[in-house]
Symmetry: C2
Subunit: 728 residues, 2 copies
């Protein structure tokens, strides 16, 4: 949480640069190296090849489709620097190339990092793009509220209007609160940053995790609602809800891996169409009602299954509050507005809240006047549309516009989730792989994780909207509450003009949303909210552990000046110290003369592959010990005879393994050698047969990977396999 | 198929010895090496450690439970040879140790190879041990025959006695045939060897594969019949057939991994108990029938669902022929008899056939006289026992003895299957891992494969005996037929005394069993035999491919004298030949001076881990090129500045990868370098962070394994990772 970070991901930020202290230490280490390297630098620098690949181009020309494409794929660009072209991104292995070919068809050719565009949006584009998630919420918010109220029968439905009033108050309060946040954080006012800056790391991470949960659930809920809208129009599709939903999610995955984000303004169209559809629905409905003198139709008689208790009303309120999910979108995206960014963002925010309130109020009024009750097979919007337009084309248009809107709303998660993970990874609260942009400059890893999580939740809850809603409200309101509470602290610390009023507005918003979180978490706990209530702290803990791990890594890897004991020869000293093995953190041989080699060649049989391994080892001209593992004394005798036939005066040690184990005795022997001289760097060299067909691997024992696994925790042990390629 | 191999597996036969030609070539190669190695041998031989670990014992004493158990686990045994004790078989990794601990509890401590005993059996032990499978067959053979005949109603059941007569003829003919085989192949008369020797490799492998199928099905069928015997007595267990059966198979797995084989004579008891039970059942039954004057009770009226066609009778015959599965056991085990082996084996064979025929005839007669029909919920043996003994203790004894017998019969597959795979692996028709004996001197790999196959088939057919039987007859009779046909050829080639009669006997047996194979394969094809009919050729093809692969390996690995071109310096010649990369088979650097090194150190960042990798590479004093992959020009510039701060005059090449790919451009760059000088040995050195907790691996990009995979097909490329251990 290092202050206001610029809110624009750069594809190149993968390797952390060195700090000043590290550079200083590096300079000192370099001086020490030079004393050692200088006398042999001629040998080290005289390369048998031309690393800039220029010499290569004098050879036979490499065509575009020849097997030497590799050569042309590096364009020399100045001294000691070449650039890999797109051709150099082709995987080298056969399987990899197959995967690559499929990828190219599905997501298109790779894009250069420089192709990243940081689009600036006009307000008329920003409104639909950033508002899509918020506006789409009216498709499930009122619906979910009624689904709870209907449990108390007709008398329950009568509470819907007052509840709607409370929700409008909430919308206005949160809107006002965010207007202030945007003005105060013009470089990006995401909850992660605002909460982290003002309330500390833990609060920031909690807000971020809450938003991550929100993004995941937004996909599941939007897709479920979208399918419900379609199934209301075409009931025969209802049994295929889960399959259709997973198909939609797969579509979103493919589209986003392609990088649809760049075509952001495309989102404007469906949102405006949806707003028009809602406007039409409300106006025509109200006009029809005006004809009847606004006399409310009583809802159909419904048998209540629960009493109209306070708890029921609170549950309905929590469900209804999902009508404003997506309200945080503008605050996250302030830098994407045209300058003056914060002013434009604030204006857009105001418009969004206004439109949301208008649609919400209009729909709730119509629902009340038309006497509409919740129906599991027909969405509330569909019922309203049927009332006003019958079964005709207009009805179809309303349903199609709604379904399209919801698909686009789900898509906003595909922008937000990976971006948030990127920022978390940059602050090291999330794994670094989330920093990486894929071939198409999309954060592929985040996109894939979102898809898996959303698909799992969608399928796990059978694509049932009313089962998903209880999970939804908690995450987003946790983030919104923390962001606003952070703003209260912000105003308190920086007594600006009108800071009293600012605190009042943000404090009011924070209090209201905190109440929503509590109500949602408590009343919906058993209905599914426990997944989120327990999941968020767990994920927060994980994120903090990730950060702690990276801190340990940085400390362990930071270059430091060599300690005095290492700048003097220390073989004798180490020997006197006895058999204490070098501790794992003590791998301090950063200078060539500290590396004392022992090459241990594991020889199974004196065949070409093993002779090659011996030749490799011997050519390095370091102390060399050949090691043979034999299952019995007789076999050992036989091998010694073969060795003597070879008659090369290398040292051979035979370990008889009467228990037939191979890897374990080898590992223990290496351990035993190292216990004698813990400061030695032991290179275990072994031949490895490389087979042509993967299934042939079953025909050979795979010693190298098992040995690598067995010895991986041991310090100062290097395992080198010398491949021997078998013909096909 | 190299002549008569001794039929006793030795645990040490894992590494194939060198042939005379290879030894000669080795001597010559050694002479060449010496010319090169001699001047540097001092450097190579001066080891910084004592490989015999003697010096180590002067250090702090290592206790049994101290962390230095490794030291005491090697007992010096003469010059340059140490022996790994049981302690040295303990896995080194944590996970490995956990697995090990479970293993010790389930299967016991490891056994030394020298603990292998080649038990010799007295005939009175051999009869029950080798006969268990054969005798147990009467529990399902008659049963399965009746299950087919009953389809034609009561008239179908009337055919059972004549059919039984034909089966007895078959038993006697095969018995006589095997008596001859045993005499002719005293060192082991398994079908694999007899068919292979006389009819060629293909026939031998086919016989072996047939037997393998037989062993697998024997487990499934015996367990199914055993459960049926138990469920006949306790009908409430019937719904749990599959679970109970899988439990039994798991028990067999654990028991055999423990190496129960050594307690072979334990098998004598249940077999004798079973024989006694059958004798009791038949005698009491016949005595009761004698009281009724042997007047056959007509079977209960059954509605026929099929006509009594020739096809039905043939199907019944094929099912009934499973009564003699296991007949080949004695022939496989001739060397296990006391001398004179072949005579004792032949006597035992005669007794076995005699007892089999007696029980079979007795049971069929009783079935006929008692008018017993097949019943899916009550085995035929259980019905007979109920008739004679009601529901009392004696009935329970008969059922228990039968169930126990069947479990032991299933167990015989656990001896035969892995042993046969061992012999196949020795002749290289099966993967070499089947040569290896596990900790308890059992062929663990074979045991595990058998368990998986049998469990899959048992569960796949729902543990239903009548569904499994159609698969059964084909495999074993294929092997028996090929073995006898092989004997015909054997007699034809070696005109011994009475060779005409010998040919007649073996020819008659072969003809009869060939008919059984044909009948079983054709009439049961759609009922399930297709699995075996199609599976056997597929497996035979695979075995032959395995053999072909190993042949290629031997040829590729065989030491040959160095070609002239390699004994002269050849860098210039190779360069003139242009950019043709060394073919995969051309990795002919078996002598140190042929290895021309280029160390390519991939440096991600100048931190301790990467400095250590650079130090390792530089300390080897070979040409060294540092390579950095950068996602953008700016990042490249930054890295170059850091490098310049270090100021060590090593060669650095930066590859800018604007498409953000990492492994592919690295692999292509290596390719491009190698294309310049195909004869170079390119060692790619890279730092690898070793994390403490496995889940931390998700937090770091795993370049090394991906690079290893990408470059594995390239010749002359060695990948070395220098581990850097992070603190916990």
């Amino acid at each position: 949480m290092s202050g206001h970070e610029p809110d624009t991901p750069t594809p190149a930020e993968i390797i952390p640069p060195l700090g000043d202290q590290e550079l200083e230490a590096l300079r000192e280490v370099g001086r020490h190296w030079n004393a050692v390297v200088e006398p042999r630098v001629h040998r080290l620098r005289e390369l048998p090849v031309d690393p800039s690949l220029k010499r290569a181009s004098d050879g036979p020309r490499a065509g575009r489709f020849s097997r030497f494409t590799e050569l042309t794929s590096f364009e020399p660009e100045g001294k000691d620097e070449v650039e890999a072209t797109a051709a150099a991104t082709t995987p080298v292995s056969q399987l990899g190339r197959l995967v690559e070919a499929v990828e190219r068809v599905v997501i298109g050719p790779p894009l250069r990092s420089s192709a990243v565009v940081h689009e600036r949006m006009r307000n008329l584009v920003a409104l639909p793009v950033l508002g899509s998630d918020l506006f789409a919420s009216v498709a499930y918010g009122p619906e979910s509220m009624l689904a709870v109220l209907v449990l108390a029968g007709a008398s329950g439905l009568r509470v819907s209007l007052p509840l709607a009033g409370v929700l409008v108050l909430l919308m206005l309060a949160v809107g006002a609160s965010y207007r202030q946040t945007i003005a105060a954080y013009p470089s990006g006012a995401g909850s992660y940053i605002v909460a982290g800056d003002n309330l500390g790391e833990r609060a920031g991470v909690t807000a971020a995790v809450g938003l991550l949960a929100d993004y995941i659930l937004n996909v599941a809920v939007s897709v479920a609602t979208g399918i419900a809208a379609i199934a209301s129009a075409i009931p025969s599709l209802r049994p295929y809800t889960v399959v259709l939903g997973l198909g939609m999610i797969a579509l979103l995955l493919a589209g986003n891996l392609r990088g649809v984000r760049e075509a952001g303004h495309l989102f404007a169209a469906p949102t405006y169409v949806f707003l028009f559809a809602m406007g039409l629905l409300i106006c025509v409905g109200l006009e029809q009602q005006a004809g009847r003198g606004f006399a409310a139709t009583p809802p159909p008689p419904i048998k209540p299954v629960e009493g109209l208790t306070v708890l029921l009303v609170l549950r309905a309120f929590a469900s209804g509050s999902t009508s404003m999910t997506g309200i945080e979108a503008v605050a996250n995206a302030v830098p994407a507005f045209k300058p003056p960014e914060w002013k434009n963002a604030r204006t857009t925010m105001t418009w969004m809240i206004g439109i949301l309130v208008a649609i919400f109020v209009g729909l709730m009024l119509l629902i009340h006047l038309d006497g509409i009750a919740w129906n599991p097979n027909q969405t509330v919007l569909s019922q309203l549309a049927h009332r006003s337009f019958g079964n005709g084309v207009t009805y179809g248009f309303i349903q199609a516009a709604t379904a399209a809107m919801l698909l686009f709303a789900a898509n906003t998660s595909y922008n937000g989730f990976p971006r948030l993970l990127f920022f978390m990874a940059r602050s090291e609260h999330a794994p670094r792989p989330f920093l990486q942009m894929g071939d198409r400059l999309a954060f592929s890893n985040g996109i894939v994780v979102l898809t898996i999580a959303a698909a799992a939740i969608f399928a796990g809850f059978n694509g049932n909207l009313q089962a998903l809603i209880p999970l939804f409200a908690v995450g987003v309101f946790v983030a919104v509450t923390l962001s606003q509470a952070g703003m209260v602290v912000h105003w308190w610390r920086n007594h600006g003009p009108h800071w009293h009023r600012a605190i009042a507005i943000n404090g009011f918003g924070a209090t209201l949303t905190a109440i929503v979180v509590t109500v949602a978490a408590v009343t919906k706990f058993t209905a599914g909210a426990w997944v989120v209530v327990l999941g968020i702290p767990l994920l927060v803990w994980l994120c903090l552990r990730v950060r702690a791990h990276y801190r340990v890594v940085h400390e362990a890897l930071a270059v430091q000046p060599l300690p005095d004991t290492l700048t003097q020869p220390r073989g004798a000293a180490a020997k006197q110290a006895g058999y204490v093995p070098t501790p794992a953190t003590g791998e301090r041989q950063e200078s060539p003369e500290h590396v004392q080699h022992l090459m241990l060649v594991a020889v199974e049989r004196l065949d070409l592959a093993n002779l090659r391994a011996l030749a490799y080892a011997a050519s390095l001209e370091q102390p060399l010990l050949a090691l043979h593992l034999s299952p019995s004394d007789e076999e050992a005798e036989r091998f010694r005879k073969e060795w003597d036939t070879w008659a090369v005066p290398l040292r051979l040690e035979i370990v008889v393994s009467p228990y037939r184990a191979l890897v374990a005795p080898l590992a223990h022997y290496v351990d035993a050698l190292q216990a004698q001289r813990p400061e030695l760097t032991l290179t275990v060299i072994l031949a490895e047969l490389v087979v042509h067909h993967p299934w042939h691997r079953l025909l050979h024992s795979q010693v190298a990977p098992r040995l690598r696994l067995a010895l991986r925790t041991r310090p100062n042990i290097v395992i080198t396999t010398i491949p021997f390629h078998l013909p096909a």
